[in-house]
């Protein structure tokens, strides 16, 4: 089972290096999603299935969608259309597709392979996490709610249109 960890770790490192070295933000985002998915697989192998699900849902899902929306909002104009047609060419998908294919292979192996995925390792169940989170760590939950409220208010305040700003292009 260690092989699954090592392969996923290699995929994570390679895709993270690709994130840092890409020139185009959308390409980098593709590799970043691959990196997060491979880290989620590592979490699963380490015996934290709840955290693996959270990583996929929140990190690779919600936060990356925010990034994609922002990048798309910033790229307005005819140049963006040209870029868009380039993205449809399929050449840019090769790298992330290979890495994701490796992850899919590992997932199929974990699902249908002979041995149990996390054999010999203690699995920390979601039940234990929840009991600790709403028991001794209840103050953390309260603080997180305040942090999220602060983030919401700050994002709303910063996202407002201010009249003193530079004129925005009519859209």
């Amino acid at each position: 089972m260690n092989a699954v960890f090592y392969i996923a770790a290699a995929v994570a490192v390679v895709s993270t290096v690709m994130v840092v070295t890409r020139a185009n933000a959308v390409y980098a985002l593709m590799y970043l999603i691959v990196s997060l998915l491979s880290v989620a697989l590592i979490f699963f192998v380490l015996g934290a299935p709840f955290i693996a699900a959270l990583e996929v849902i929140i990190y690779a899902g919600a936060i990356m969608v925010l990034f994609v929306f922002t990048i798309m909002m910033l790229n307005l104009g005819p140049k963006a259309v040209h870029q868009e047609s380039q993205w449809l060419s399929g050449r840019m998908w090769i790298g992330p597709s290979i890495l994701v294919a490796v992850l899919i292979g590992e997932m199929l192996y974990v699902l249908w392979g002979g041995e149990h995925p996390v054999e010999g390792r203690h699995i920390v169940e979601p039940r234990e996490v929840s009991l600790a989170l709403f028991g001794p760590y209840i103050m953390i939950v309260e603080l997180s709610s305040m942090l999220l409220l602060g983030g919401l208010v700050a994002a709303y305040h910063l996202g407002r249109r201010v009249r003193g700003d530079v004129k925005e292009p009519k859209s």
Partner: protein, 103 residues
């Protein structure tokens, strides 16, 4: 702990990812890339917490990861709003465009 991954390797991977994110943060000048590298570093820190939590079979590491995810969500919301404002002000994403203060 027979057939399991050594804790050192998990920590090494976390350190490696954190280092890549740090180098990217220092090298890149595009604010979107800088925010992405911050995400990589936060993720690596969370990985270190989960590896440590799995080493001692305690749920505390996973709780720390939940906190980190919450913080990353709030940070990304504020950071992306700042990037939008930055782009409207300077018409560029180069972080060096904002290297002078008003005072």
């Amino acid at each position: 702990m027979m057939a399991t991954v050594p804790t050192e390797y998990g920590m090494l991977l976390a350190a490696l990812l954190f280092g890549i994110g740090l180098v990217g943060l220092l090298v890149r000048r595009n604010v979107i890339f800088m925010l992405m590298c911050t995400e990589i570093m936060l993720n690596a820190a969370g990985l270190a917490f989960v590896v440590a939590g799995s080493r001692w079979h305690q749920p505390d590491g996973q709780i720390m990861f939940i906190i980190i995810v919450t913080m990353a969500g709030a940070e990304v919301a504020v950071g992306l709003a700042l990037i939008l404002r930055f782009y409207h002000l300077f018409k560029t994403l180069d972080a060096d465009a904002a290297d002078t203060m008003k005072g």
